[in-house]
């Protein structure tokens, strides 16, 4: 035992308590496949409307098949907001935060949760100012135009780097479209089926020597086959 007054440094002990829960590898995610009448736990109604609208543009439903919304991507993103990542738990978030060259990556103090909240608010505010309505109420072509400007950096906000926000939502949308269905998106493995990815089958010894089409559909973590 440590001696009388020798209590370990508070930040160290707190950190250790927090980190103690982290197992070596992430355990199996609890099964939360895409639901019919999903109620978001993080996003407000207005934010949810934005999210669905944005996802629908980033990966639209089209002649190639379902898009992000049909695949449950907004549910995926909402569920991700309950993970440590959403609070910056796997990023180094100590200050000071200073601007740096782009090569050194993300230097903002904002967590993913904050980025979504502030980013959605900022975009809707810009939208309101320009069009008298929020992003979700625009026509798809208008939405596309706005996203392109954000992506290019020509549409900005003083509240937040919209470019950063766009990068985040695009990445999360693709994660949700292609991640395992247990996380809430990639409903019925539509993302995997679109591209011909066999999911988590992860066994190709007899196939790899032949440059031929792989004849089987995907399988998910929980064993569902597509």
């Amino acid at each position: 035992m440590t001696g009388n007054g020798d209590v370990p440094d508070r930040s160290r002990r707190d950190f250790l308590k927090q980190a103690a829960g982290a197992a070596v590898a992430a355990p199996l995610p609890p099964p939360h496949p895409t639901e019919q009448n999903y109620k978001p736990s993080f996003f407000s109604a207005a934010e949810w409307a934005f999210l669905n609208a944005a996802c629908a543009r980033l990966i639209p439903e089209d002649e190639l098949g379902p898009g992000a919304v049909q695949a449950g991507v907004p549910q995926f993103i909402d569920r991700q907001m309950s993970t440590p990542w959403a609070d910056g738990g796997i990023w180094y978030m100590q200050g000071p935060f200073i601007a740096a060259k782009p090569e050194f990556g993300y230097q903002s103090a904002l967590t993913p949760k904050q980025t979504y909240r502030i980013g959605i608010k900022a975009i809707d505010a810009l939208c309101q100012a320009a069009n008298g309505k929020p992003f979700a109420a625009l026509q798809p072509a208008q939405q596309d135009e706005m996203l392109k400007q954000i992506e290019a950096g020509t549409l900005t906000s003083p509240e937040i780097s919209l470019k950063n926000f766009f990068a985040l939502i695009l990445k999360n949308t693709q994660e949700g479209f292609f991640g395992d269905p247990a996380y809430g998106g990639n409903k019925d493995m539509v993302g995997w089926k679109l591209i011909g990815h066999p999911g988590v089958r992860a066994d190709y010894l007899e196939w790899v020597g032949e440059a031929k089409p792989y004849p089987y559909g995907p399988v998910s973590l929980y064993g569902k086959r597509g």
Partner: protein, 430 residues
């Protein structure tokens, strides 16, 4: 159900015969003058304890060695292994050798208490006086005494009544040490002695009769059975579910390391290798292999057969495998066991022609699918290669489909598995 009827009949018979039996009393203490003249070989006694695997049952998980307290499931309830450290009050410190010999030979403890055959005295009875003498000396002098009271069995009355035990033992037990077969050589006899005696293989691998005694029908010794939630395999010379395709070296390898070119241990056998057989001498393992490989095939009726076939693999490679079992195999098993069912030499057992896969009773196969298994780490083969379980991924129907696929692919021909068989194993594990 059969078991329950057996128990009821046994009790009925016991009720009639118990008084007569009790009146006749326990066997007298054997004469030990001759063997007691021996100077005990303590190192040999330690080796005999390893042969008999005393420590595994007589040690509670995480508990002190030989101090008892491990729960052993029996058909009539749970018994707890006893303290066989030399503690005078709670262990066997107060025994003399004659009492120990009577216990091992006759199944009667000091004070005349008949013991449950969960303690396989039915096999240990075959051990020689010399081996038992050295074993006793080892337990008394080399093992640390530990004070630990024996836990009474958790068996409901009237099944807890011991009198039927006396009848059972007198009816089914042969209290004689092993005798060499003069038609066989020393190595074979040594193997027979080890298998029938201290290694007590028959306790798990031999089917039992209506009274739960090991069958003595010809050709049934070690012919495989359902036992303790698993299905110890047929060790006789059958081509499908037995060891006909194994060499003697294969038998040695399996006992030394838990793995060989054909198969790998699972379930209760993992501990047997880890705690006991991996430490047998080379000569003893060869003797056991010699003896086991000399066993004639058991009656083929109802047993799995094997005739190697490419058809299953071809089907998969042509993109035609659509059965639930086959697709589950591709999704969960082939990554190690390979699409052709051949496994990977000494690392992942092949499933094609595998005695455990082909076993009449599929309980072990189901148990491994549900819970996975791990090879023991042994001195010669230290990697505890493990298979994860899939109970979380598949329901009973799916596991049954998978097990059926395994038992009917690559030339395997064994009976289909049902969802209720899977459910039973799943329940047993909870």
């Amino acid at each position: 159900m059969k078991r329950l009827i057996g128990v009821v009949i046994l009790l009925g018979a016991a009720a009639v015969g118990a008084i007569a039996v009790t009146a006749r009393g326990v066997p007298p203490l054997p004469s030990v003058e001759q063997v007691s003249a021996r100077i005990a070989d303590l190192e040999h006694g330690r080796y005999v304890a390893t042969l008999g695997d005393c420590a595994s049952c007589h040690t509670a998980p995480g508990g002190p060695a030989f101090a008892g307290g491990r729960a052993l499931a029996t058909p009539i309830g749970t018994v707890y292994s006893t303290n066989i450290t030399p503690d005078r009050d709670t262990g066997i410190g107060g025994y003399d050798f004659a009492e120990f010999l009577r216990l091992m030979r006759h199944g009667v403890a000091p004070g005349g208490r008949w013991i449950y055959p969960a303690m396989p005295f039915t096999a240990y009875a075959k051990m020689s006086d010399d081996d038992l003498f050295d074993l006793f000396a080892y337990l008394q002098r080399e093992v640390d005494p530990v004070r630990r009271l024996n836990q009474p069995p958790a068996i409901a009355w009237p099944l807890s009544w011991r009198a039927p035990l006396a009848l059972w033992t007198k009816s089914f037990h042969h209290a004689q040490p092993f005798e060499d077969d003069p038609a066989q050589d020393a190595e074979w006899n040594r193997g027979a002695y080890l298998v029938q005696g201290p290694a007590h293989c028959g306790t798990c691998h031999t089917p039992r009769n209506w009274a739960m005694a090991e069958s003595e029908e010809p050709g049934q010794f070690l012919s495989g059975t359902a036992f303790n939630g698993g299905s110890p395999i047929n060790l006789r010379g059958n081509q499908g579910d037995g060891l006909a395709r194994w060499s003697e070296q294969d038998v040695v390898d399996l006992l030394r390391t838990g793995r060989n070119a054909h198969s790998a241990v699972s379930g209760d056998m993992v501990e047997v290798v880890a705690a006991s057989t991996q430490y047998f001498s080379d000569d003893d393992l060869r003797a056991i292999a010699r003896y086991v490989k000399s066993l004639s095939p058991a009656d083929e009726a109802g047993r799995g057969q094997f005739a190697a076939s490419q058809a299953s693999l071809d089907r998969i490679m042509q993109g035609k495998e659509q059965s639930s079992g086959g697709r589950i195999f591709m999704d969960s098993c082939a990554a190690c066991h390979r699409l052709g069912g051949g496994g990977a030499a000494l690392a992942f057992p092949g499933l094609a022609g595998n005695a455990s896969v082909l076993s009449k009773d599929p309980s072990s196969l189901i148990a491994v699918i549900l819970a996975g298994t791990s090879l023991p780490s042994t001195a010669k083969a230290p990697s505890p290669l493990a298979m994860p379980g899939f109970a979380w991924r598949y329901d009973d129907e799916e596991v049954a489909a998978l097990a059926t696929y395994l038992r009917s692919s690559w030339g395997n021909q064994a009976s289909a598995v049902t969802a209720s068989q899977v459910a039973k194993v799943r329940r047993h594990r909870q």
